[in-house]
């Protein structure tokens, strides 16, 4: 009789890499449905194109690098989907293909694949496009041909151009329910929040980064708002617009590019929140979330050095016989 021999532990929780990615995708599903219902076929076109490009690019590049193909683990699918959800629905097909391809190649695989990317792959692709062809990421132009039941202006551009007077027309409940212009899935604030809470409950993401991201946004925007409420928007407006919600739960929490110890996570979250509001208020860009996350990604190796004090367990006298 042959017995199997292996090293301990002999049990496993059975939450695998693929299951984690599928859970992320599941959590994004409400936002995907929102995008389809709000923008129709153009949204479907962008999402399928982005996902297909990402998966194919992942397979090709791994073949080229002579590494095992891991497309079934859902990582490329997730990157493509997240990339699509922060785009406006009107972008041309080549724009989506180039962006999604860049996410996978420059964002992820070039650094050694899953787990080794120093920056969030989705945001790398997005940032390259944003700087190269800024015109296509204009949310106001994107909805020009639509007839929707909410104001067809990107709230953050309004804020940038006209201060808090222009945004007084936005009702917070509408913003929460996704009745706003923005990334095709990112605008569905409530649905993203539900997805994020699902991930928290499944313990797939830890609460520190989203919570302190929100704290950073609220504190920093409160500072501006209290100093001059005629020019600056209130904290709630900042929380409910742009990419804050999707960034909080889905972008900032990317495993490889965020710190792994608690104190690092807290500083990381706070940093993104504060930078987001500073970029929104003082830079030329209407929304600062993505650049804020990319900047804090660069600090991750440093934040990981915050001492995660090993608690000595070796004790002077133990009898284990």
């Amino acid at each position: 009789m042959k017995l199997v021999v292996s090293s301990p532990p002999h049990w496993h929780e059975k939450l695998t890499v693929s299951k984690i990615h599928y859970n992320f995708i599941l959590a994004l599903l409400p936002a995907v449905i929102y995008a389809i219902f709000t923008y129709g076929m153009p949204a479907v076109r962008v999402m399928t194109l982005a996902v297909a490009t990402a998966v194919i690019a992942d397979i090709l590049i791994r073949l080229a690098f002579r590494k095992p193909v891991t497309a079934t683990d859902g990582s490329a699918f997730l990157i493509g989907l997240l990339f699509a959800l922060i785009l406006p629905p009107s972008v041309p097909y080549w724009f989506v293909i180039i962006g999604s391809f860049l996410c996978i190649t420059i964002g992820k695989e070039i650094f050694g694949g899953l787990g080794s990317n120093p920056l969030n792959p989705v945001l790398v692709g997005w940032a390259i496009l944003h700087i190269s062809w800024p015109g296509y990421l204009n949310f106001n132009l994107a909805v020009a041909n639509y007839n929707l039941d909410f104001p067809l202006h990107y709230p953050l551009t309004m804020l940038k151009n006209g201060g808090s007077e222009l945004i007084s027309g936005f009702n917070f409940l509408d913003l929460l329910l996704g009745k706003q212009v923005g990334g095709m899935g990112a605008a569905a604030v409530l649905l993203i929040l539900i997805g994020g809470i699902y991930l928290l409950l499944r313990k797939i993401i830890s609460w520190e980064i989203p919570f302190f991201f929100a704290v950073g946004v609220v504190v920093m925007s409160a500072v501006f708002w209290l100093s001059n409420s005629a020019v600056y928007a209130n904290p709630l407006f900042h929380l409910l617009t742009g990419n804050v919600m999707i960034g909080m739960f889905f972008l900032a929490t990317d495993y490889a590019s965020s710190p792994f110890n608690k104190w690092g996570m807290i500083v990381f979250g706070l940093g993104i929140g504060v930078l987001t509001v500073i970029l929104r208020t003082l830079s030329v860009y209407p929304d600062g979330v993505i650049f804020a996350i990319l900047i804090m990604n660069l600090f991750t190796p440093l934040l990981d050095r915050i001492k995660n004090n090993p608690k000595p367990l070796a004790i002077n006298h133990i009898e284990r016989r």
Partner: protein
Amino acid sequence: MNSLLLKSKEMKITEVPEPKEVLLPLKGFDEEKEKLKIKEGSRVKTGEELIPGVYSTVTGTITGIDIMSFAGTDLTILRIAVSETDEIAPEITAAADYLEKDAAELLKKLNRANLGFDEELKDIKTVIISAVDTEPLAASYQQFLIENPDTVTEGLKLIKHLTAAGKVFLALPEPLLSSAANLTAGAADIFPVKPVYPNGLPEILTRDISRKYDTGKTAFLKIEKLVAAVLALRDGKPFSHKVITAAGKGKIKNLKVRIGTPLKDLLQDMQPGENEKVMIGGPMMGTACYNTDLPVTADVDMIYVQDAAEIVKNENNQCMNCGKCVEVCPAHLSVNLIGRYAEFSIFEQCRDLGIQHCIECGLCAYYCPSGRSLVQFIQLAKSELEKIEAEKIETEGEDVE
């Protein structure tokens, strides 16, 4: 934090029929020296000294010496055919008034009764007696507490007498708290423990208690040994039986077995099939065996048979940096970094990250979504670091010369 609950259901201890043959590992066996004493065909009594520090746990006839391989080392095993009557060696005596005797003398007596107490017990400040099981499926310690309350109370008094320790703690799982409240009779403080793995491991228990109380030099004792000590001194019974939990094939039970019983005698109704796994120890820290001929030794608390379908195949994928291992590590180590450094043979960095604090509880590898063999990596790094250390001492010695 984690969901690996320890068993808290009561499971009666059942006695296993006497084995036909008992196998005893001879620790530190030197063939040249001890050839004369251990002869084939000679009779031994229960509690008789075989070689220094090794005592027979059974009465019978020696039938031979074998070598068996377990966990990468070769064990010298003495085979004894069991006789029908159980005779106890005359050196082991009962004394009802044992508590009035000198502590040093009692310690000697205990060691003579195969209990292996440490002489250092004298200058100990705190003694921790644990009735918390160490592994998720095990339930033998707590059952011991449930079934022997009076002996435990007596044992606590004995410990006070033996060690002159300022504090004695009885650690027990929270569900047993109400039923054991009057058990200590003032001789010990009760320390309730959440029945979650790895709270029952000696290192974790000692740390948790030292966080709440000023402990100083601490000794750790399983509850079973406490009871065995009383039985040895009071009733003159050497430590020859062991209570273990046997789990597998959908069954789980507490068994009282003679030390040295081969595993196959205990696995009658949970016989492992082809390509299944048998381990000495539990699912988290147990050691898988090559065969079922190995005996139950004094430090075995559990045996576990795992079905082929449940066997975890380590994929050892790339680390995705999810941080789960860091979150669950009871020593708060950066396991993800240690794992990667060890994988790429950068062992000095592992030391800087505090690898020596790892007690190999296995939680990191249990949770790792990439299926990385983190415990194995850590074991590798530890042994390599030991080699580096040894080399350093050697070369330093040369410099002096």
